[in-house]
């Protein structure tokens, strides 16, 4: 059942998801012990390849790897040959020669971790590729939700914000739907594409979305750095129209809804300060659960062995192309 890589949620089977969530439960029990380290990955090496800035995902993976006794190397992108114009492919050839066991990669280009996975024997874990996927975030979100709703089937999660640029929205919605959770998107019309999957409800009006009766409100970070054009007039207006304002928090408290956020939080934009002290905010739980989920993922993957070389992969893609059939 083990895989070489974790690149996306879309290709994960239900049993694999359940397995990882169960394993995460076991690993989380370690956290209360005075010695939190186990020798599961002793002698294994984990390379952190972060082309994009990250605090919590990076440190979460690092802590997870170290708790499994792996050696962790941080690839310093800022001081690497990448700044001398070396391509990702050349970098990967170099890294492959170093025979690392795991590569945890974050990059702004969608699909790039998959490309790396096809060129290395290392197990590649996608730690976020552009607006494509962020599978470990989705797993930790599902784990956090399952802690509150052990059987989450039929529960409703409303994801609010910049869906267009969000890998979290894509991965988390895919995973939650695989677990039987209903998902809806809410956000400005410019940031919630009209062509999202039909299985996901699409709202642009806050009141209408709340009338859908969600159990969890999942706020996405407004990523100003990804917005090459203006998608809404101002953060003040965004907060008023789509944010959790003080008045809206009161309503959420009355209804007993849970609030989640992948972080880092823009206070006063996605949510008002008071949300951080809200007793049903699961934001800290998400951070904590990130470590056990990433331990489960590292422990589950199996580095080494044959890897699908790019050429073979391309041939396979062509063979499965529906048009090129006589």
């Amino acid at each position: 059942m083990a895989r070489k890589d974790l690149l996306d949620i879309a290709s994960l089977h239900r049993e694999e998801i359940e397995f990882l969530l169960d394993q995460s439960t076991s690993f989380k029990k370690l956290f209360t012990r005075s010695v939190k380290k186990i020798p599961a990955l002793e002698g294994k090496s984990v390379l952190m390849l972060f082309y994009e800035a990250s605090t919590r995902t990076h440190s979460s993976f690092e802590v997870a790897a170290k708790r499994l006794s792996a050696e962790v190397t941080n690839f310093d992108v800022a001081h690497s040959s990448i700044t001398k114009g070396e391509s990702v492919r050349e970098t990967i050839e170099t890294l492959q020669a170093m025979r690392t066991d795991y590569i945890v990669v974050r990059h702004s280009h969608p699909g790039l971790p998959g490309m790396i996975a096809r060129q290395t024997t290392a197990s590649v874990i996608n730690a976020g590729d552009g607006a494509h996927e962020h599978p470990t975030q989705a797993l930790l979100d599902a784990f956090t939700i399952k802690e509150k709703f052990p059987d989450p089937r039929g529960k409703r999660v409303l994801i609010i914000g910049d869906i267009l640029h969000s890998r979290v929205a894509r991965s988390t919605s895919t995973l939650l739907q695989k677990l039987g959770v209903e998902v809806a998107y809410l956000g400005p019309g410019s940031l919630v594409p009209k062509y999202v999957p039909e299985s996901i409800r699409r709202f642009t009006d806050y009141e209408a979305a709340m009338a859908w009766a969600p159990d969890v409100v999942y706020l996405l970070r407004v990523q100003m750095e990804r917005q090459d054009v203006q998608f809404f007039p101002s953060v003040r207006e965004y907060h008023r129209v789509y944010g959790i304002t003080t008045a809206r928090l009161a309503e959420i408290r009355d209804k007993g809804l849970y609030i989640m956020h992948p972080g880092p939080v823009n206070r006063g934009v996605e949510l008002c300060d008071a949300v951080m002290d809200y007793e049903r905010s699961l934001i800290t739980n998400q951070v904590e659960n990130g470590i056990s989920i990433r331990m489960a993922v590292l422990d589950w993957l199996t580095p080494g062995g044959d890897f699908p070389k790019q050429e073979a992969y391309n041939a396979q893609q062509k063979a499965s192309s529906p048009v090129i059939v006589p």
Binding site: G111, H132, P197, Q317, S321, I324, P326
Partner: protein, 425 residues
Amino acid sequence: MLLLQNARIASENSPVLLESDVLFVEGKIQDIGSGLAVPKGARVIDARGRVLMPGMFDAHVHFRAPGFENKETITTGSEAAINGGVTGVVMMPNTRPAIDSAAVVATVLENAKHRSRIPVYTSGCVTKNRDGKELAEIEGMHRLGVTMLTDDGDTTNDPAVLLRAMQYATEFGMFFASHCEVPELAGPRALNEGVMSYRLGIKGSPACAEEIIIDRDIRLARAAGAHVHIQHVSSKEGMETIRWWKSRGDVKVTAEVAPHHLLFTDEHIGDYDTNYKMNPPLRTQADCDALLEGLKEGVFDLIATDHAPHTPFEKAQDFVSAPNGITGLETALVSLYHFFVRPEKFGWDLVVKRYSAEPRRLMGLPIPTIEVGQPAECILFDTEAETTFTQDFMKSKSQNTPFIDQTLKGRVDLVILGSEILLER
């Protein structure tokens, strides 16, 4: 002397293939008829079952020279053309330096004369260095025979610049070929905005980015009294915009469609296969269907491949980093046969009209036909044989095509130009 016996002759004027012998003498067609006597010393080829037709002409190719000879040269590009049954091409000017002056045009044409076995024509830039600001020295290029002006690869974004260019160059009898794309809407990533762009997490380019410029450039041409040729249309609405303007009849507009836009959709990109990354991007099945209708109806005057070679190293990057474009010269005719002629979606007459005659009409060139007295410029196509597009088969320097290692029905067996047999299988 060459005698082809029992060839089936295709022409743009008739869906019926006439079976006949054809005698070539000193680069011309000397006789056509059944049971022609074999002249002394003539070579005889039994062409029974095979289709004889004029050589194709591709009005939209990138031969990458000068500047990007690692991708393609005039020699490799023209050999690729011959390999695909194409006996004449028009190069696009997005080279380095750009083909934006008489000096560069002269160099390119001189090279073509010595390094190609088929006629290679070039278009010229509308603006200097294709930067959309200052007009290129248009008349100087015209004196060397350039008739098509384009900033291909990009739209001439400032409508005032394009309008002035149209007003100026139309006086010399030149016409404009438009790559249609609002850059602010399209963004840098060649992927249709839709279900697929959401799934892959790449901000898509909406079809309206193309449609707006199609409409804009036709309106500008109308205002200037110019002839505008719309390049590589990819969307249904784009096709319908052209159809509407053509139905009005108050502006001279022609248009082309590429085989890949008829054949592939954004779904083919699958797991980020860069051989499906092109600009304009692949769109939906509904667009493909509409483009096919447009081709049959004549909204599209011609088929052109936008042959765009890139090195394997460039295409092996991730989808966002990889350059746009696929090669097309070697696969176009066989794929048109395999996917359209063989399943009777259209006939050989359409292929000859749209991929041989009309592109030459656009360029103001003589149109080769299989008729007595005409210069020999023709190909023989085996409809039962197959072509496998292996690396060894390809003559282009680059093999960035979705057809690589695929086998399709149909094969170009013979290419004749004047007294020369350029290719024989």
